[in-house]
């Protein structure tokens, strides 16, 4: 990626991160659409021999040989038996029956996590700079589990089974399914086994935001990652015949529009289809579109496909208008014709003109790349939101990371829009999603693993979460682009990842498999359900009081009846820094009172553990009301922060 290493402070603090063999021995396994090994992001110049711990393979198949792996891309496997059993043999004219990535998504995510340094990267000149993954010295192993028809659980389980055998250290999964109990969810089941082996599993939170209760991958042994923006934009202005200009975004590169205002039409008025406003395939009337700029509403079909539909109908340009579902979030696309995306607010103003002027005209002006955009980050509208529908007592997402307009490596088999009619080929592409934020955290976890090889997956996640930030430098809380208002812990979890602070968190909330098994007892899982999930006979002790509130999680979620109540949580902090005394401070809105006991914890040596309790007291509130707060422990140098979310 370009820009994110700087946005995250990695470039400015490079000396703090290990450059030793420990960094080169960390292996990030990515389950996705495979890999395009010719990407310069897999260049292995300067890499030492493959770590002796590595047990993986470079599997051969369609257009993929053992020589496609190297000392950077050390493994590549594919898993298709489940897919083929359901949908029939893979059509090798459409996708490679091998680890080769014909889609681009897998190359994008793997290079985001751990791609090598590539200078002069850009997409058509957009987002130029030196591209690199978050852990450029880590090794990559690609596990192809997603095909044109989807990603099937039997294949995902098989890939994770192999990845554990292969000895990966971090697993990155930018995919998700429906919401189901952990003992029915293949990703949750396999992630449990990985966690037991010391492998951190980072998963995308989902793109179903801003709807509440829309999260995927919410098991507490998974690190769940939401998405925020960078301080970078790709402005493309709409200039109207009434003299007004409106800002939008675009990654279009190609022939410019004529240097004059063009006739401007609303797609819904140049179509016979009831959903003509959406610019669905074949829905526009060429006679009414030819030579004009068309305004299409966002939704239903892919954004880039709308541009292709306008182009096929003879249109010269497109304005893509966000609706309420996306608000003012601007996601840039490499459209096939001159086009720009505008926010809902802007779209309303443009439509006012379009529907009131008898002869509306417009043009689109492309401004390239702008950096230093503020405020940033803001929570992406699409990023899935809490509360956690499976276990409301565990706050998810865990944190957010860059996931909007991210440049990273791409497949040579497909154009940047992914459309069949897009004949362009690019080395890097700019796309958005929690799929993009997840591998940022996977790569950062690899960095922490290199710096602290002895840390458990829970300790690494704790470091990432407790050092995440929730406010800008001016003190204002990170915004939610879907509302334009301050975001909450249900949007950003513990906050935006800050890897430099995460290197030295001071204290961590650690967890092991036994803790999670007790958590399952607290959920009243049967012995059979626990066995399905954790592959062992584990008996919850009859009469023992198990509480979800005792899971040593780095955040707090309190689920209350409408009448309110008092809830007590306990937590244990482990010292991973120098000796010191940490004092607690709490903040909360008026709806909840937070009391911590004791108020001070003194750690004399490394790995010393100290416990504390928190009592949350809340009054009656209407159902679905939420309250928020924060608990921070500080020794004056480090701040170990935990978000608090209360829901009635």
């Amino acid at each position: 990626t370009t820009r994110t290493p700087s946005f995250l402070g990695l470039d400015q603090n490079a000396a703090m991160f290990p450059e030793s063999d420990s960094a080169r021995d960390v292996i990030v396994g990515v389950l996705d659409t495979g890999v395009w090994p010719e990407s310069p992001s897999f260049d292995d110049t300067g890499f030492s021999a493959v770590p002796s711990s590595w047990r993986g393979e470079c599997e051969i198949g369609t257009n993929f040989t053992k020589s496609n792996c190297n000392k950077k891309l050390i493994g590549a496997r594919f898993f298709a038996r489940g897919y083929e059993a359901t949908l029939g043999p893979i059509d090798e004219t459409k996708e490679s029956r091998s680890p080769r990535d014909d889609d681009g998504h897998g190359t994008h995510t793997s290079t985001t996590a751990a791609g090598s340094v590539v200078s002069g990267a850009s997409l058509f000149g957009y987002a130029p700079g030196t591209a690199r993954g978050m852990a450029p010295q880590a090794r990559i192993a690609a596990y192809k589990v997603c095909w044109i028809g989807g990603c099937f659980s039997s294949d995902i389980l098989a890939a994770l089974d192999k990845a554990i055998d292969d000895n990966v250290n971090v697993l990155s999964l930018s995919l998700g399914g429906g919401m189901s109990d952990f003992f029915r969810d293949s990703v949750a089941i396999a992630a449990f086994a990985a966690m037991e082996k010391g492998i951190l599993v980072s998963c995308s939170a989902g793109n179903a935001g801003p709807t509440s209760y829309s999260l995927s991958n919410v098991a507490p042994w998974i690190t769940t990652v939401g998405a925020g923006t960078l301080d970078r934009d790709f402005p493309a202005f709409v200039s109207l015949g009434n003299g007004k200009n409106f800002s939008g975004v675009s990654l279009f590169k190609g022939g410019a529009l004529p240097e004059k205002l063009l006739p401007f039409v609303y797609a819904g008025n140049v179509s016979n289809a009831s959903d003509g406003n959406l610019c669905m395939t074949g829905s526009l009337i060429p006679e009414k579109v030819r030579g004009k700029i068309v305004l299409c509403d966002r939704g239903v079909n892919p954004r880039v496909q709308k541009g292709s539909v306008v182009k096929d109908a003879g249109g010269l340009g497109m304005v893509l208008a966000n609706t309420a579902a996306n608000g003012d979030e601007l996601v840039a696309d490499a459209h096939l014709l001159p086009a720009t995306t505008v926010g809902e607010t802007t779209a309303k103003e443009i439509k006012d003109y379009l529907f009131s002027d008898p002869n509306p005209t417009a043009t689109v002006l492309f401004e390239g790349t702008k950096v230093g955009i503020e405020p940033s980050p803001v929570v992406a509208a699409f990023s899935s939101r809490g509360p956690n529908s499976i276990t409301p007592q565990i706050l998810k997402p865990d944190l957010i990371a860059p996931g909007v307009n991210i440049l990273a490596g791409w497949s040579g088999a497909v154009g940047p829009t992914g459309l069949a009619e897009d004949a362009r080929r690019v080395g890097f592409n700019i796309i958005s999603g929690t799929s993009m934020s997840c591998p940022h955290v996977s790569g950062l976890a690899a960095l922490l693993k290199a710096a602290h090889p002895e840390w458990s997956p829970a300790a690494i996640r704790s470091a990432l979460m407790t050092t995440a930030y929730t406010a800008y430098k001016n003190g204002k809380v990170i915004q939610d682009v879907s509302t334009g208002k301050p975001s909450t812990a249900f949007d950003h979890g513990a906050g935006h990842v800050d890897p430099v602070s995460a290197l030295n968190p001071g204290l961590v909330y650690d967890l092991d498999a036994e803790d999670y098994l007790n958590f399952l007892c607290a959920l009243n899982y049967t012995a059979s359900q626990i066995n399905s999930l954790a592959r062992r006979n584990f008996s919850c002790v009859a009469g023992k009081s198990y509480s979800v509130n005792d899971l040593n999680y780095p955040s707090f979620a309190i689920s209350l009846e409408a009448r309110g109540g008092v809830v007590k949580h306990t937590r244990t902090l482990t010292n991973v820094g120098p000796p010191g005394t940490y004092k607690v401070s709490v903040a909360s809105d008026d709806s909840v009172k937070i009391a911590v006991e004791p108020q001070s914890l003194t750690f004399g040596q490394s790995n010393e553990k100290k416990s504390y309790s928190v009592t949350f007291t809340a009054g009656a509130m209407p159902a679905n009301a939420n309250g928020f707060g924060r608990i921070e422990w500080s020794d004056g140098k480090r701040v170990v922060g935990s978000p608090v979310a209360v829901s009635w």
Binding site: A85, S154, I164, G176, G177, S435, R535
Partner: protein, 82 residues
């Protein structure tokens, strides 16, 4: 529709493996063959699950679920990229 095969993930309680089996994969295979003579395993899992995936009819899946040593027989689910 009762005859239409679908993919299932079969979770086994390894601790309940009968003594006559030395290799758990043989036990998995015998369990599968007891409900479907023609079904084959797609994958045998070692680390993430004690069990395997296979294609069964709904009736076969129900029969499998009732067998000793079976924890669950879960229909395959589809995941999507984010």
């Amino acid at each position: 529709t009762a005859e239409k095969k679908e993919t299932y993930i079969v979770h086994m309680a390894k601790s309940e493996m009968p003594g006559e089996f030395v290799d758990h994969t043989r036990w998995y295979d015998a369990s599968l063959k007891s409900v479907s003579g023609e079904a084959e395993m797609l994958y045998t899992y070692t680390n993430v699950v004690h069990g395997f995936s296979t294609r069964l009819t709904p009736d076969e899946a129900r029969s499998m679920e009732a067998r000793p040593g079976i924890l669950s027989v879960l229909p395959e689910s589809r995941y999507d990229l984010h």
